[in-house]
Structure formats: structure tokens, C-alpha cells
Amino acid sequence: MAKACTMKRKELEGYLQDVDVFEKPKVLLEQYPTTPHIAACMLHTISSTFDDLSGKSVADLGVGCGILTIGAEMLGASYILGVDVDEDALAVCANNLEEFEMTNVDLLNADVRQIARCEDMSSRLSGHFDTVVMNPPFGTKHNQVVVVVVAAAVVVVVIVVAAVVVVVVVVVVVVVVVVVVVVVVVVVVVVVAALVVVVVVVVVVAAAAVAVVLYPILNSSAFERNIVLVHPLFEAYIYAVQVEQWQHKLPKKNIRTKGKKSSHVYILKHILKKAQTWGVEATVLAELRYDLANSFKFHKKKSVDIEVDFVRLVHTEGSRQRLLQMLHS
């Protein structure tokens, strides 16, 4: 694999174009494929700057369709274990591995959170891997934002429909006025208005209910997910926070304000805060930029269309022990 280790990022990205992605992504699992570009940028940095792939034993948590795993193998990882909760994703991944003729990769259908929670599992796994790569579902804020937007959209749409009905009725009423007594008109208008109010109230309540009901469901595992992020199993812990792929679901004007300011900054802050609490050393390597290829001074470069935070977490002395205690106390 000596040759592969010197592979250029562009070349790697080219290969990764051939990795099949989810046929039917599952929203609840936040299955947005890692793009070949992001995967190549991430892995190339991990490999060339930190030498954390070549000859290493790697775990890919939330392996999905396997793009990070395949890229890591190309950059010389000796062994990779890909874990995912979704067997459909693993089936796609297994196909990809076969296509790429990769034999030193094992797949495991399991819930990383369950592995993390189990004391015996986690202490036995501790130290098995040199490096972990992941682009996991981040839970918390993504879904929350989406839910709020969805609920709001429903309200808006239905209110508009109701308003149209009112206008039509009013027009009809104007014609009827000529023949019918004004009082009747008033009654009709009142009834219609009442109906509209009822509809709006029902819709708002329903939307609120949807939000209230969905919110805890979508958020139930968020905290555990974040615990898993810096689980003591691992020596070096590397992952990407990815925001741009779900942002297309939001209205355009939200991309800059809501998306950037609140969600990914929030998640990043949250992760850094957690890392601090746990005594894990966290380095924000980059908000990956397009011209990463030529230079690693990507911090100041002009952003193109990709907004990905790329964080490296490394255990410090005592942090693993502390984490184990926190996890199992």
C-alpha cells in the first residue's frame, strides 16, 4: 500500500466518485452521504498531516455506504471495522467493498450507542483502534430546526388556503346581498370567519402537536450520540460535522442565518464544550474549503459551497478513564 499512501487528494476523490450511495436515505437516521470531495479532503488531511491512517487499525462509526472506509483503506489503513445500525446501508457498503476488492474491512451491524453504554464492551474495546473516522448523525439541532420549519410551513400553507376560501365566499356574498337581507350576509360571514378561526386553531394546534410529539422522538438519542462522539474506545478520534447537505431542505434565506449561525456553530460549540468537560483534546482542523488541495491554510480561504467542520479529538492522560466513569456511573 506504499503507493496508495502518497495518493493525491484529487486522485482519491476521483476513486471515491465510484462509491455507491444510499438508495433511499432514511431521514431519521440522518443518512446524508458524505460527498467524495469531503471524504477525500478529510482523509487526505488525516493521512498527510497526522499520519493516522497508514498501517493503522481504524473504526468507522456509522459507516453507511462506506466512503470513508474505502478512502481510508486506499490511504493505507491495515484494518477497518465499519459499524452501522442500518442493515440496508451495510448491504450497499458490502457491495462497494466488493467492487473495490477490499478484504481487510469487516462490517458489523450494531448500534454504536449500545456498544458505548455497555461497560464490559467498551472497556474491552478500549485501545483496539488507532483511529476512528466518522460522519455521524448529529441528532439534536438538525432535526429540531427541520421540525420547526415543517410545522411553520404547514401553518402558513393552510392559512393561505383558508384566506382564499374567505375571499371566494365574500365575492359570492356580495352578489347575494342584492337579493338577500344584510343580516343573513353577516351571519354567513360570521360563520365563515368562525370556521376559518377554527381551521386555523386546529392547524396551529396540530402543527404544535406534531412539533411536540416529534421533537422528543427525534431528539431522544441526541445526548447519547454526543457521548458516543468521544467514547473512550479510541486513541485518536476524528470526525466531520456536516451541515450543507441538509440545508437544502430549508428555505434559501435560512441557509446563511439559521443554518450557519445556529446549527453548525451550535453543534461545534457543543462538541468542543463536551471535549473540554471530558478532558479530551479537540482541534478544529478546518471548515473545509474548496482550495484545500493546494494548501492547508484553509482557515482564511474564501469559502465556496461547502461548510464542513472537521474536528480532531485525541485522548489526553486520564481522559479515557474519566469518560468511562461518566459513561457508566
Binding site: G55, S78, Y79, L81, I115
Partner: protein
């Protein structure tokens, strides 16, 4: 196979037994440095048992003693057991609870059912 070993460590202190129904031995490049390094990370008795469970324990001693680095034959046996032998179909059995985890298409399914989660949390 390496996964099996890792999973083995996953149950309550007891290695899982493997009931293979279909095994494949694949050719993987021999990397002695990786085998030596891996050996320091795994639970060797569990690997030994796993290899014997699937009928590929030949050349593996019950205990690893001395300097493995110089013993190429042993390293090759370890390499074979760790990386080349693959259980494609079968199941993993927890010796404590008897719980079976199916392996299909080479992928062990370790997902727990709702009512099992509390037990593992302890």
C-alpha cells in the same frame, strides 16, 4: 475474523461461540508488522477459541509466548486466522444467555432488542 474477536470481547466477559455454516478463506496480503501490533490489542485466548470454533485453528498455540516477531510461521497462522478466514453465514452465541446473533453475508448482527438494552447497560 478480527471482528469476531472484537465482538467476542463484547459480551459479558465470555467470548461468544461461533457456529459457522459457511466459511470463506480469502487471500489477504501478509503484513507481519500489522499482525504483531494487532496481537497486542486483542484477547488472544478468544481468538484461539474462535479459530478453533470455525475449524481454522491450525498452527495456533494455546498461549503466545516468547518473541512473536521472529516467528514468521506463527505470524502467518495468526494472519490467516485474523484476516483471511471469514465467516460468511452462521451465528454467534453468547455462552451466558444463549442469545444468538446471526451472521449473514459476513456481517454479524449485534442489534439488541428493546427489552435487552437495559441488561447491557449495566
Amino acid at each position: 475474523m478480527l471482528t469476531s474477536n472484537i465482538i467476542k470481547g463484547v459480551t459479558k466477559g465470555f467470548p461468544l461461540a461461533i457456529n459457522p455454516t459457511k466459511i470463506e478463506v480469502k487471500e489477504v496480503d501478509f503484513n507481519p508488522a500489522f499482525v504483531v501490533k494487532t496481537l497486542t490489542k486483542i484477547d488472544y485466548p478468544a481468538l484461539y477459541q474462535a479459530a478453533n470454533d470455525v475449524g481454522h485453528g491450525e498452527g495456533l498455540p494455546e498461549n503466545i509466548e516468547g518473541d512473536v516477531k521472529e516467528n514468521e510461521e506463527l505470524l502467518k497462522s495468526l494472519h490467516n486466522a485474523l484476516l483471511q478466514v471469514e465467516v460468511i453465514e452462521g451465528e454467534l452465541v453468547c455462552p451466558e444467555s444463549g442469545r444468538k446473533f446471526p451472521i449473514s453475508n459476513g456481517i454479524p448482527n449485534m442489534l439488541l432488542l428493546e427489552n435487552e438494552i437495559d441488561n447491557t447497560g449495566q
